[in-house]
């Protein structure tokens, strides 16, 4: 579905990605993990043409989408939920959701809205509230719900569990599981690496702007390959614990 190859991208003068390639097949959940500053968010922004891409190709289905205006890429069916959420605090919850419904050119369907609200019941009670008044977890649910309302063919999540309580993280992962079960294609960037690898069909490990390892969970999680790739050293507490 999404095919990225040899991607070089970055900010102004300096490149952050040095030839990244990855494939996201239809209906699969793909994870990208890597240390802080590896370029994960930059990769997602490069796919959406938010940062400057200087080399490589980005294909979505049969189309070359590299260099397309961000909103056109979005309208083709890729929804990126950015790092740090991106709720519109000056809008109400309902307006945030409507933006997802309508901006993507989807015919306004109350059906779509209510089915998404069924998935995120807390939002239903807060529709008329200012989005700025929501808790962190609620905001994260709002942006995921908003992205789902655009009826994406590919949903990209950038660190959806960042800054959430463990309980809330569980909830978010439940949602992703649910999406997976529904056949939505998902690209997940996670800090919580082992959990992401566990969930995903296939995982890429990005370090310093390069993919240094990839594979399915069995392959990556065996023999501490992930930790080795990730940290260039022995396994850490957190990855061990998750195992």
């Amino acid at each position: 579905m999404l095919d990225v190859s040899g991607l070089v991208a970055g900010y102004r003068a300096n490149s952050v990605l040095h030839g990244v390639s990855l494939q996201i097949p239809d209906g699969k959940t793909i994870a990208v993990v890597g240390p802080n500053g590896a370029g994960k968010s930059t990769l997602l922004k490069a796919i959406m043409n938010v940062v400057r891409v200087t080399a490589g190709t980005v294909r979505f289905g049969a189309r070359d989408i590299r260099g397309m205006p961000t909103e056109r890429i979005a309208r083709l069916g890729i929804a990126l939920v950015p790092e740090g959420r991106g709720v519109f605090g000056s809008l109400t919850v309902a307006e945030n959701l409507r933006l997802g419904l309508r901006a993507a050119g989807v015919a306004a369907g109350d059906g779509a809205l209510s089915s998404v609200l069924d998935r995120f019941p807390v939002l239903r009670a807060r529709l008329r509230m200012s989005a700025a008044g929501l808790s962190g977890g609620e905001q994260q649910q709002l942006v995921i719900a908003r992205a789902l309302l655009t009826a994406p063919r590919l949903l990209i999540l950038d660190e959806p569990s960042l800054g959430l309580s463990p309980q809330m993280v569980d909830e978010i992962f439940d949602v992703i599981h649910g999406l997976r079960a529904d056949g939505v294609t998902v690209l997940l960037v996670e800090q919580n690496a082992t959990r992401a690898v566990d969930l995903a069909d296939h995982t890429y490990v990005l370090v310093s702007g390069r993919i240094i390892a990839e594979g399915a969970k069995d392959h990556l999680l065996s023999g501490d390959r992930l930790a080795a790739a990730y940290f260039g050293a022995g396994p850490t507490r957190s990855s061990k614990e998750s195992l």
Binding site: K45, V50, G84, S90, L99
Partner: protein
């Protein structure tokens, strides 16, 4: 009490102008110094319109300035949209200079007198010892009408997109909000506000010259800063605050100090900004973006 009317009238004029500036600043982070020249063009439209019926003159002004604003965005600002703020600022100065030069070329630098409304509604009403100019009523009425319309618009689909884009342009685009469309809309509305300002200003001044909009634009710009860059309610609040400060300083300063009125106004503005560096209402400009 009489001064209160002056404050309302002056504040309304600043508010009309400030909203136009804040709208384009909101979506583009562009400080549009050509806004005063949009107003100037609106004024000249009224001059050229001459003796056609008032409503037709006003309508032409709104249409032409709205169109001019959109065209300016397409021709001048779109190519520098992703450039640094300085480049955009310089571009807006260039547009402003160009429009002024064009006005000098077409109409001369001396200015033209203009009568916007028939004499019957340029007089004064005496109500309970107060002198209320019809023009003050018109100014406030136009401002309130446009404000209410703008608030209503902001609840519509395009309005929500505009507000979202003003808060975080990139995230709005990620949701499929069309950048060109939303910026075009902002400029069109900004143009309508510039035209409305020019109508009120031309009626108040009776004269249109190439620098017609400059002073009002500068004060409105200060109102936008005081109110909180990029915040529309802030711009309105800032405008009325500025109207209050300038009328009271004119009314209360002793004669010897009155010539320093503007310095005094700016002093108050600086004090406000020292207390609230992001303006009365915090704008979105300072907020973190992805």
């Amino acid at each position: 009490m009489q001064y209160l009317i002056d404050v309302l009238s002056q504040g309304s004029l600043y508010a009309l102008c400030a909203l136009g500036i804040a709208l384009t600043f909101g979506v583009m982070r562009l400080i549009n110094f050509a806004h005063g020249e949009f107003m100037m063009v609106g004024g000249y439209v009224l001059v050229v319109a001459g003796d056609i019926p008032v409503w037709a003159a006003l309508l032409s002004s709104v249409i032409i300035v709205g169109f001019l604003a959109v065209a300016t965005e397409r021709i001048a600002f779109r190519p520098v949209r992703n450039a640094d703020p300085e480049t955009m600022l310089v571009t807006s100065f260039a547009v402003s200079f160009l429009l002024q030069s064009l006005a000098v070329l077409l109409f001369g630098s001396l200015g033209r007198s203009v009568r916007v409304f028939p004499p019957s509604i340029t007089g004064v009403m005496h109500i309970g010892g107060l002198n209320i100019r019809w023009l003050d009523i018109i100014t406030v009425a136009v401002t309130v009408t446009l404000l209410v319309s703008l608030m209503a618009f902001m609840k519509t689909r395009h309005g929500v997109e505009l507000r979202a884009a003003a808060e975080n342009f990139t995230v709005a685009r990620l949701l499929g909000v069309k950048a060109n469309q939303v910026i075009g809309t902002a400029f069109a509305i900004s143009g309508v506000f510039a035209a409305a300002t020019s109508i009120v200003l031309a009626a108040q001044r009776g004269l249109v010259e190439p620098t017609f909009g400059t002073t009002t634009m500068l004060f409105a710009f200060i109102a936008v800063i005081v109110g909180g860059m990029g915040s529309l309610p802030g711009a309105v609040l800032g405008a009325y605050a500025l109207g209050l400060i300038s009328v009271t300083s004119q009314a209360l300063l002793p004669l010897g100090l009155r010539q320093f009125r503007d310095a005094f106004i700016f002093l108050v503005v600086v004090l406000i900004l020292l207390l609230r560096p992001e303006g009365i209402l915090r704008g979105h400009a300072a907020r973190v973006r992805i």
